[in-house]
């Protein structure tokens, strides 16, 4: 009985240690390994937030989205790609996963792309300066490049 208790204690300690270790080292996974919660075009995503940001937040906030659209601009310095209509003020701003940053050179504005990213929300343009409203995607990876 005593031996059993000691064994149980050891198992519990090991399990607790393993759990603690996992907690401590549990890296944020690359989105290449994660299935998207929803697939949507950049223009539809922008329209959803512009129409009703509260309900769009409920639907998309914190979700992994696969977004397809046209590349509006590429910002090397911040590793950010903007998707949307070239004429429009609003964009889906995709901040790239560090593992994909080096591929930014192979992209061209005007070409079509599908990007998977974590939707962190909507930044409406409250400045009145015409900066445009943005839907933000984080940790973005490429799904399809043309």
């Amino acid at each position: 009985m005593k031996r059993f208790l000691v064994l149980l204690l050891v198992i519990i300690l090991l399990a607790a240690g393993w759990y603690g270790y996992k907690l401590y080292t549990g890296k944020v996974p690359s989105l290449t390994e994660v299935k998207a919660d929803a697939t949507i075009s950049a223009t539809d995503l922008i329209a959803a937030f512009e129409k009703d940001s509260a309900s769009a937040n409920k639907q998309y906030l914190g979700k992994i989205l696969e977004v397809s659209g046209t590349i509006k601009s590429i910002e090397q310095e911040s590793s950010t790609i903007s998707l949307g209509n070239a004429g429009g003020n609003s964009s889906v701003r995709c901040s790239l996963d560090s593992a994909f940053v080096k591929e930014i050179d192979s992209l061209n504005p005007g070409s079509a792309i599908t990007i998977k990213g974590n939707c962190t929300g909507y930044m409406p343009d409250e400045t009145g300066l015409g900066l445009g409203s943005d839907v933000i995607l984080n940790r973005c990876v490429f799904e399809k490049k043309n």
Partner: protein, 188 residues
Amino acid sequence: MIRNMKIKFLLVFSLAFFSFLASAQVRYYTKNAKINFFSETPLEDIDASNNSSVSVLDTQSGSLQFSLLVKGFEFKNEEMQEHFNDDYMESDKFPKAEFKGTLINNSSVNYKKPGTYNVQVKGLLTIRGITKEVQSNGTLKVNNDNIKANSTFNIALADYGIKIPSLVKDKIAKTIKITVDAKLDALK
């Protein structure tokens, strides 16, 4: 007489032209300001950064604004990121945080002369829907076509109603260090 009028016209025209040029450089902005926070305790250091904060600086009035999406903070550890969003910041309920302030000593910054200037910033910081006044020192590095803004200040979690469960209270500092690093481009 005609010559006089010509000179007057030229004078008015050039004044208007130069004031137009000057006004074109009044506002600076970025959509990629970096906001970092750091919690230090003997047991554990926690840091996270947000690289897509929007910032606007009006050099004439000295008004300075930042806004960011709370879910945009990235941690090295997934578990921490979940706790941060779900338990502490309730980022589904309060997706944004923002700062609206002014440079108290804006007049001592010469935006036409490149260089590094010490500034004092005062304003209202809103986190989790709670607004508090904060004041901080920082620097503005004026370059020819951009301005770099840097500042570090501390906030107390209790001020914003962020409760830390007793189980992890030794791992999370009561006062968090916030670092701001922004490169603002002239708004044309």
